[in-house]
Subunit: 237 residues, 2 copies
DNA sequence: ACCTGAACACCGTTCAAGT
DNA sequence: ACCTGAACACCGTTCAAGT
C-alpha cells in the first residue's frame, strides 16, 4: 500500500456488482459497506474483477485490493484460490433456468436448461474444468438444480437408473459447447494447409461463408442438442 | 545448476518416451542422443514429465532440466508455454482412430472415433481448453483427422453444410466427457445435503451402488454418444 | 542460429505478530 | 475470530552476452 489515507476515510469499492451485493448483505444499517469480509463479498468482488479484466486479472492480490484487505485476510474465508472459483460456480449456477421442467414437455425443458447453462458459463470457461470435477456435496445450489432436472426427467418417463448418466452426458455436451463459444474467428480455416485436406476445406468454406464465430458455435450447439434430445427419447420407459 | 560435470560426460535422459522419440529422430548415427534441441524432443520430454509428475510438474524449468538446456534455450523453439501444449495436442491427436470411417458404417465410425478421441485426452485434461479453441491452421495432424471424418460423413449421406456443425457438436461432447473421466469418487453424492434433494439422492444412490467412478463416467459417455449418433441420423440427406 | 546466466515481474500461500 | 506485513517458494518470460 503506497497511498496514505486517513483512518476514517470512506473505502472505495468497485461500483458494479460488488456494491450491490454489499448492500444486500449489510448487517448494520448506516455503516459504510465493506465492513467485514465474507463469502458473498468475495464472490461479488471476484465477479467485478472478471468483468473488468477477465480471469487473467483474477488474482488473490487484486481480489484483496478491491476488498481493501490484505491478501492473507482472504485465507480466513477461503482455503485456496480454487475455493474462490467454487464460490463463483455456485453464484453462476443460479442463472441456469430449470423452470421449464415444471411447465413444458421434457424436450423443451432439456433444451432451455442446456441453453441457459451453456450461456451462463460461456464467459467463464476457466471455471469449466473446475465444475466438471466438482463434488455436488459442498454445492447446494448446484444440487438444487439437479433435483429439479431429476424430478422433471422422472416425470417424463425416464428410468431411475438412467437419470445420472443422462444428466452427466448432457452436461458433458454443455461444457464442451461452452468452451467452443470462445473459439477464435476461423478456427476451422485450414489456411495454407488447405491442399492437405481438400474435402474438409470445401465444406469449411461452404459453411463459413457469411457466418460469424458466434453463429457457427450456435449452429453446432443447436444441432448437437437437438440430436442429443432426439436420441435420448429412445431411452424413455 | 549446482552439480559439477565434465564437459564430455554423457547426458542423462529420461528413459521413457523421451529416449524412444530421440532415437527415432536422430540425425547423426553414433552420436549420443540429445545433441540438438527441436520440437519433437521438447514434445517427448514434456510427455515424459507429465507421465512422471502430471501437468503440475510440467514447467519450463523442469522441461529445460530434462533436456539439459537452459530455460531460455526453449524459447528459441517455442514462443510460449502454450506452444508446448500445442505440440502435445498434435502428438496426441495421432492416437485418435479414424480408420472406421473407411471400413464401417457411419454409426460405428463415429463411435470408434469419439471413443478413441476421448481416451486419448482423458489423461490430458489441461489440454482440453487449449484444443477447444485451437485454430486448425497450424495443426496438420488435426486437420488430417478432420479430412477423414469429413469424407466419411459425406459418404454416409450427410449434407455438406452440416459437416462442420456435426463435427463441432461431437467434439464438444468428447471434450466434456474427457473432463468427466477425472471426476472424483462420489461426485454426485449429496452427503449431508441429501435432505435438500431427496429425489436426486434416491436416483444417485440407486445408480452409484457397486459402481466405480470410471464405470459411471463410461456409462454416461456411452449413453450420450449412442443418443447423439441416433439423433444425428435424422440429419442425413 | 542457437545457447547461457541472470534478472524481471509476477504468482499463490504461509505465518508470526497484532487486536 | 480475524486481520496485517513480510517472507517464501515458486512461476513464465526477457535479454544482453557469448559461440
Amino acid at each position: 500500500m503506497t497511498e496514505v489515507r486517513g483512518p476514517t476515510t470512506q473505502r472505495q469499492l468497485p461500483r458494479t456488482a460488488a456494491s450491490k451485493e454489499a448492500l444486500e448483505n449489510r448487517r448494520l444499517m448506516g455503516r459504510p459497506p465493506g465492513g467485514k469480509l465474507n463469502a458473498p463479498k468475495i464472490t461479488a468482488a471476484a465477479l467485478a474483477l472478471i468483468y473488468d479484466s477477465g480471469y487473467q486479472g483474477l488474482t488473490m492480490a487484486a481480489l484483496a485490493r478491491n476488498l481493501n484487505v490484505s491478501v492473507s485476510a482472504l485465507y480466513n474465508h477461503v482455503t485456496c484460490k480454487q475455493d474462490v472459483l467454487r464460490l463463483l460456480e455456485e453464484h453462476l449456477i443460479i442463472q441456469v433456468n430449470v423452470s421449464a421442467f415444471r411447465s413444458s414437455n421434457w424436450e423443451d425443458a432439456i433444451y432451455c436448461w442446456a441453453r441457459s447453462y451453456r450461456d451462463a458459463f460461456a464467459k467463464h470457461t476457466p471455471l469449466i474444468p473446475v465444475i466438471a470435477v466438482l463434488p455436488v456435496m459442498g454445492a447446494p445450489k448446484t444440487l438444487a438444480m439437479y433435483e429439479e432436472v431429476t424430478t422433471g426427467l422422472l416425470k417424463a418417463g425416464f428410468r431411475e437408473d438412467r437419470i445420472i448418466p443422462i444428466i452427466a452426458a448432457i452436461e458433458a455436451f454443455i461444457f464442451g459447447a461452452a468452451l467452443d463459444v470462445n473459439a477464435p474467428e476461423g478456427i476451422f480455416n485450414p489456411g495454407t494447409l488447405a491442399h492437405q485436406a481438400p474435402t474438409f476445406t470445401a465444406v469449411q468454406a461452404y459453411h463459413e461463408s457469411g457466418r460469424t464465430t458466434e453463429q457457427r458455435s450456435d449452429a453446432a450447439f443447436r444441432l448437437g442438442l437437438e440430436a442429443l434430445i432426439k436420441g435420448l427419447g429412445a431411452f424413455r420407459l
